[in-house]
Symmetry: C2
Subunit: 192 residues, 2 copies
DNA sequence: GTCTATAGGAAGATAGAC
DNA sequence: GTCTATCTTCCTATAGAC
């Protein structure tokens, strides 16, 4: 069984998914994890440290289902679509991650200390996406006139927009996935 | 000069733009507005009522610059672009509104009582956008094969995604506007 | 309508025993 | 390492005077 710290971090993800980063109460987390508040302070120093560590934990976990999503892709264009769709799934872990990610971005508007992490992760994601766009072009599966970085930046930003609507109850996940697939078609042009 | 309530509401917008909905402290607002906390409770009953009224106030104000953006549009396609770009401007009021809107969406993930307002406003915005897409098609300025509602839903969601990146410091406003213009081109196809 | 003063209740953080 | 108990700070909300 995992150690106490890991148990607390897993509980923290659940609490953040339920109440948000700013709604995270150390006492709630203690109850969720079945430990005392003092233990949390012992392991994580203070609330800010706890949040920091939880965000890093979430990021690591995301790598898992992202790579999983790429398994079995037919070609580069298919891989691109799968990568993007992997953020829009009604799965426990994905939803938790999406909520946390959205909260992180929303919180970073008011809290500089959260921006570093965020900007870096965003850039990585955009870069990976742009590479798949370029691969698709090289394989003759996408319009050669489009700029991979522009397309990647738009598609990933669209995922974030759709995700926000999904999680805030304006859009169901199936419709979001459909819209995203349509955007990929519009951006890359017909398969040649 | 406006009455006290309006002064408080204007101050509340500034405080929300600076600290977020969940970061709004009645005491901060009192200082910003130059009144006592008691007066705020006198006029708005409680914190929730204050937030509610402020959000409505922000919505009303947004109608102003939205309509302004449509002035001088050359044609339906141009009007569509202007409508969308009006959310991405480095102007005091627009930035304040964008921050508040993003916060509202982010908060609604955890607070059901905020969803009603949000879902309705989103639907209206998407509908107005879809109408402009249909107008552009009728005027021969957009590909007739695209579904106006799908395009509108994607473009408005993209605006929200770009706006989130802009406000959280991942993207500057000029780049965001450029990317958005590119998306309109990709979605509507070349002018015919 | 508006203020000063303060009650009352969360929530973060720590002391000290085990 | 982990807990119980508690300190302290911050924040919403109200009482009561003007």
């Amino acid at each position: 069984m995992a150690d106490r710290q890991a148990l607390i971090l897993e509980a923290a993800v659940r609490v953040i998914a339920r109440s948000g980063i700013r709604g995270l109460r150390v006492e709630d987390l203690a109850a969720e994890a079945g430990v005392s508040t003092a233990l949390i302070y012992y392991h994580f120093k203070d609330r800010a440290g706890l949040v920091q560590r939880t965000l890093a934990f979430i990021n690591d976990r995301a790598v898992g289902y992202t790579e999983e999503a790429l398994q079995g892709a037919q070609d580069a264009r298919d891989a691109l679509l799968r990568l993007l769709l992997s953020e829009l799934q009604e799965t426990g872990a994905v939803r938790e991650n999406s909520v946390a990610w959205g909260e992180l971005r929303a919180s970073a508007v008011f809290d500089d200390s959260l921006r570093g992490n965020l900007v870096g992760s965003t850039r990585d994601w955009v870069r990976d996406t742009a590479e798949l766009v370029a691969d698709a072009q090289a394989a003759g599966l996408a319009d050669l006139r489009v700029e991979p970085l522009d397309v990647a930046e738009r598609l990933t930003a669209l995922v974030e927009g759709l995700s926000g609507r999904w999680l805030s109850g304006s859009l169901d996940v199936e419709r979001a996935r459909e819209l995203l697939a349509g955007a990929v078609e519009a951006e890359l042009g017909p398969r040649r």
